[in-house]
Symmetry: C2
Subunit: 446 residues, 2 copies
């Protein structure tokens, strides 16, 4: 029995999962790069101060803090001061803002970057909640044009379509527009933030529940009725009619915001395998959003696969001067789980193409030579690194999902041949050594 | 000016460095996989207890510890107890041992794995020393055969050769054999460990310096003379003669150890671009090595590029039952730095193949369509996400290293054409839209 386990909420990845996760990252990255997004990396740890008060909301409370070291720790203990000086990043957005503030002079004026990497949150252990998980973001910094929204929306939808998700719906709204709508319905200023939180649940829980929650927050009955009434009818309207109704309710003040959304829609003329719809009640959780917000869902998937929005103020809090920014994040872990359950990864993935078995210890060097030849032919050739009977070596190959074993025994060596064993059928075939690589490649591609 | 920077000793990677580091990882991984090694991942954090007393030596002292949270932290402060419950991994070997102990039942009996990922050490800030850096390991667990040594040696040398390093020298020794040699020279038992540390410096500092150090440790003069005398003459002997001389000095007790080394040599009949040599004075720093040890250097490189050895006891300390293990680690950061300085990365790496410029805001949706078409043709097409004059858009493309810009203005649209601009020469060429992808691919591969 193992005495030590991975810490609670943390995961080890076995080789099969490692390969699938790698495939997922590779496929998403290829799409991002086809849109001109450039990869970056930031440290796992940032100075604690970077994270404090940056709109991370609940996430800030879930930070893993790193203990000061040596004399600094002693001083902090004596003075009852902050014990940590660093923290593990809880998302990739705050580090991006810090990165941009640090390197602005070395980066293009309009900076399109992607970042795929782990983040850490001290969540309560719970099914499907991890304390270390991968995030997968594209962002455009330095552009306030609606084309930036269109660009991240199209890149994200294209990536999800490339992964095999069909019937995508990208829901689009605007944070300030939702603010107007809520205020126009008669919600007092001090309750607006809370109303956002409740409204965000509209597509997850029953309308009655949201109603009770809004009333409990002290929102006037007339405002609750007005909002929920519209929420119910909005679903039956087409996009243009929804926009028109929001326009009617919000009045002239909302004109600029509506124009912005219409431009985003106009600049994304078509989505691969899906559509872009205006949803006046989309709210999104993060405090730092300042403009358009979006989420993607797919047919037969009960949760959203990606979310994002415009956050024009966050970079400014770290660099001193405002920088418009918009981003979109694919829910890597839920996409991975879903694709794994639905067998959406490429089939036939295996540890190696062939195991070079060693018929007797004295022939080890000959086996190494054979492995080298097959690798030179472009094959992945595993060598059995030990002393064991052939059946045990074949069994190991099967455990690893390797389809063939190759052996060059004394007889084979004498006549320049190799014997291949197809492990599933237990059939052997002896082929001339000079043709071994070609023979196996031919077999594998069948 | 940026108010916040990355923490001292930590690095941000700009897109160019990100691409090169990704290329390095990809190329090493391909070789490891061609040898049948399977990728795994373990958490960045482990329970603190996993790291304590596991032969990490100095590295343990450099651990970043993660503060307990909530009520547990309060309790720890009140009781003046340990304040941390987790720690960032300082290498990939201790986590591998923990991983194997946890998952033994799910893994092949002989487990060949690679792991490429970051580790963290609270080093003093110093040129070329980072607090977060990538390690890159192959290991074979579950085999005590010298073929396991041969396998990791060949995989590592093949990876370094594939990266472009020539004239590789893999130095091979045995930890217990070095112990016999040192004791046979007359070093008292309690000084053996210290002598290893001094001997390890023989290829880095002058022999006179090592001599002073050994004398200062209290090693008898006759023992110092015997060791340094052999160290000097050993260089002039060929491999077999060196082995014979060690045999003579160590006596019959060393027979098994010498046989083990000879078998490793026999099983690695040839190395790509290099040779395997027996070096009786190779010592290696880590305490957990129990058998053969090795290091690789390359022509015109003043430091070793990779190091490893057999550690048959480490896994047992975590799983309760002994598991033979041998590993080899490529010094990722020094290899990266060297390859970058010597321009050994693939040339022509760029953010995208083409920038789709937007001649006027009203044509944005048309530009998106053009980008989609070129991407479907297999090109990486960046779209300028904003409103700017064409010269500014072209300038941005040049900043990002993008060689061409494509524009479809009203005239082009009317006649089904696209205008490409080669940014370096400022020459424009208008081509039929249906041929645009093929035209550009043709141009790029010139």
């Amino acid at each position: 029995m193992a005495k030590f386990q991975a810490p609670s909420g943390f995961r080890d990845f076995l080789p099969g999962a490692y390969r699938k996760r790698g495939e997922l990252i590779r496929r998403i990255r290829e799409v991002y790069e086809s849109f001109g997004y450039e990869g970056i990396e930031t440290p796992a740890l940032e100075n604690l101060a970077v994270f404090l008060g940056k709109g991370g909301g609940e996430n800030e409370k879930l930070m893993f803090r790193v203990l000061k070291r040596g004399a600094e720790l002693q001083r902090a203990l004596e003075k009852r001061d902050e014990l940590a000086d660093l923290a593990l990043r809880f998302d990739l957005t705050v580090p991006l803002a810090r990165y941009f503030a640090t390197h602005r002079g070395e980066l293009p004026s309009v900076f399109k970057r992607y970042h795929i990497g782990p983040v850490w949150r001290a969540e309560r252990a719970q099914h499907g909640r991890f304390r270390e998980f991968v995030q997968c973001d594209v962002d455009v910094l330095g552009s306030s044009s609606p084309l930036a929204e269109a660009d991240v929306i199209l890149a994200t939808a294209t990536a999800l379509a490339a992964l095999g998700f069909a019937g995508l719906t990208v829901r689009l709204n605007s944070r300030p527009l939702l603010g107007r709508l809520v205020r126009a319905a008669g919600v007092p200023e001090e309750l607006v933030g809370g109303v956002f939180t409740s409204i965000d649940k509209l597509d997850k829980v029953a309308a009655g529940e949201v109603k009770q929650e809004l009333l409990a927050r002290g929102v006037p009955e007339s405002a609750v009725a007005s909002l929920l009434d519209f929420a119910a009818t909005a679903k039956t309207l087409d996009g243009d009619a929804r926009l028109a109704e929001v326009e009617r309710r919000c009045g002239a003040e909302a004109e600029g915001l509506l124009k912005q959304l219409r431009e985003v829609v106009a600049a994304t003329p078509s989505l691969p395998s899906g559509r872009l719809v205006f949803d006046p009640f989309l709210a999104r959780g993060m405090d730092y959003y300042t403009g358009p917000i979006f989420e993607v869902s797919a047919e037969n998937v009960p949760f959203s696969l990606a979310g994002g929005g415009r956050y024009d103020e966050l970079v400014g809090t770290l660099s001193g001067s405002p920088v418009p920014a918009v981003g979109f994040s694919i829910g890597f872990e839920r996409v991975y789980t879903l694709m794994d359950e639905r067998r959406m990864f490429a089939a036939g993935d295996r540890a190696a193409d062939v195991l070079i078995a060693i018929p007797q210890a004295a022939l080890a060097a000959e086996a190494v030579k054979l492995a080298t030849e097959l690798r030179a032919a472009g094959l992945r050739a595993d060598l059995f690194p030990g002393a064991a009977k052939l059946p045990q070596q074949f069994a190991l190959a099967e455990t690893k999902g390797i389809p063939y074993a190759a052996t060059a025994g004394e007889e084979d060596l004498a006549r320049g041949a190799v014997t291949f064993r197809e492990l599933a059928t237990r059939r052997n075939e002896t082929v001339p050594r000079t043709e071994a690589g070609a023979w196996l490649k031919n077999r594998l591609s069948r």
